[in-house]
Amino acid sequence: MKTPSPSDTSPKTLFEKVWDLHLIEPETEAAPALVYVDLHLIHEVTSPQAFTALEERGLKVRRPDRVFGTLDHSTPTTPRTPGAKPIYINAAAKKQVETLEDNCRRHGIRLAGWDSPERGIVHVIGPELGLTQPGMTIVCGDSHTSTHGAFGALAFGIGTTEVGHVLATQSLLQSKPKTMRVTVDGRLPHGVGGKDLILAIIAELGAGGAAGHVIEYAGAAIEALSMEERMTVCNMSIEAGARAGMIAPDATTFAWLEGRKHAPKGAAWEAAKSRWAGLKSDPDAVFDAEVRLDGSKLAPMVTWGDSPDMAAPIDASVPRAPEGPAAEALSYMGFKAGEALMGETIDAVFIGSCTNARLSDLREAAAVIAGRHVKQGVRMLVVPGSEEVKRQAEAEGLDAIFRTAGAEWREPGCSMCIAMNGDTGLAGERIVSTSNRNFAGRQGRGVRTILASPATAAASAIAGAIADPRRILEASHAQ
């Protein structure tokens, strides 16, 4: 990576540093910047038409070595025996998967295919395999690509046309986004984690509040987050409309990455670490917008409406005098104005997605549910984020804890987050979900989604109603 020229001494944000290092051509009045892409992640849903566009023009994939594919959105998560062929929801889903397999084969692109031990949700496996590294530019035809920003990478979602541009040229035309710093002071209280924090941030910013901006998350509460929690936070940046989310890499980042398959090794690792250590905003760097929160005041958060910014502390009530969108949202969710969130009955629980399906998320849910049982009549799905997460969870016996509690232990994939593989709820059902979007119909037509952390989801599964995990965790602790 190029060292910035010595004359360039103006203070810079983390985003600007990564941006500048990837500029092939700077922005002009007539054209956006041309930005080099270090890592291009692809999956079956947003890539087929891009490959077709390439082939129609007789173009090759410029750098197949910088592309990595996985199957996650359309794949079934129903339990299977090793070697068994997947049973897809329909012929179109099967064709979509086969199209990616074929495209990867023909263009020499690595694919974590159906039988690969590396397969999983694209934003889980990128970091897990060490493909995701600080200071990189990373794109994927998926809005939750912002996840990778947790490592100090500039990572964002693109459309299929742009997937084609990156396949053909390994670069992208981009207008320089604005910058926003979200500083979270203090220490998160016990029982409050990364998911609660990002829901609180989105509630503060609004669903479009960070549009046009790259968010940098900073402050004591962010620095204290685990790597997995940082991924959860950056993952949902898009839910506030942000182009990307980033966190400066530090010792937590390096400890998490060291030894992973594609991470540098030996002397290269040491060199990389010293290079990455410079990836932080300069003390005098100026952001286009600044937002500040007190992390010590936060509680577990749940959503009460059909937009991720309609989130509230779990011990709060839904709006008392809702108007417009809030009134419509309450009606969709089947909540009465002013009702307490806690105790609202639910029909299902989903633990999974690129937001919360990593090993630590499953541990968090298992700690709540161990020795307890899912309420009769409530369905609970636990869908690990990757084959690797599944293996590790099974090695620790987490699968047994979930099964004994009455939950379904599934194969890795996006599953009920996007609900395009057949994993859906039924109209009218309320689902407490660790995923990222509570849009109307997201988890199936007419399904009412309540976003929450893995701990809150597990506590709610036991109660058959929205429940505060802190009460269970305290009870466990007292025993």
């Binding site: 092939i24 849903v45 809005s143 459309g159 742009e162 084609g164 390994q170 409309g241 395009m420 119909g441």
Partner: protein, 192 residues
Amino acid sequence: MLSEPIKAITARSFVIRDSNVDTDQIIPARFLTTTERGALADACFHDWRFTPEGAPTDHPLNRVDRDTQRILIAGDNFGCGSSREHAPWALRDFGVEAVITSRAADIFKSNALKNGLVVCEIDEAAHAALLDREDLEVTVDVVNQTITAGNITASFKLDPFARTCLIEGVDPLGYILNQSDAIARFEQEHAA
């Protein structure tokens, strides 16, 4: 490779007042299994327009004359959510040529402009006035970046390059391919 230049669009409008209309509303995820382009007109706002059994609902979208009402006046933060380019594809297949809103989500806007769907972000007063009236004749002037509908006028600002691509039919990929030498130079300088 050039596409059809779009310098101005004159059509009648239809309105979706809701704010934060997300891409799951524009096209539900179960329609994303397509591997081709086209044929997404029925998928567009499918669950607003059709019952689970497939019969048309009484939603106002089912009264839109798709031949003449080709400009959508939408609420704030239109197109939020996923990066699926199927959202502008579906709108185009439905017949929409321009979306006028107070604010559109970033990725949606970027995807739309690459598919000849002009996204115009206008000031709140003009936006409110347009939201209040169904079936107006609206002219979107892409060259001068203005909107006229009766006595309502507003201006919008496209990304200059996106505007050039629209009005001259420039293909962005061709433009990037012309910079292959610069890309190769960058790769050489940055080779690990």
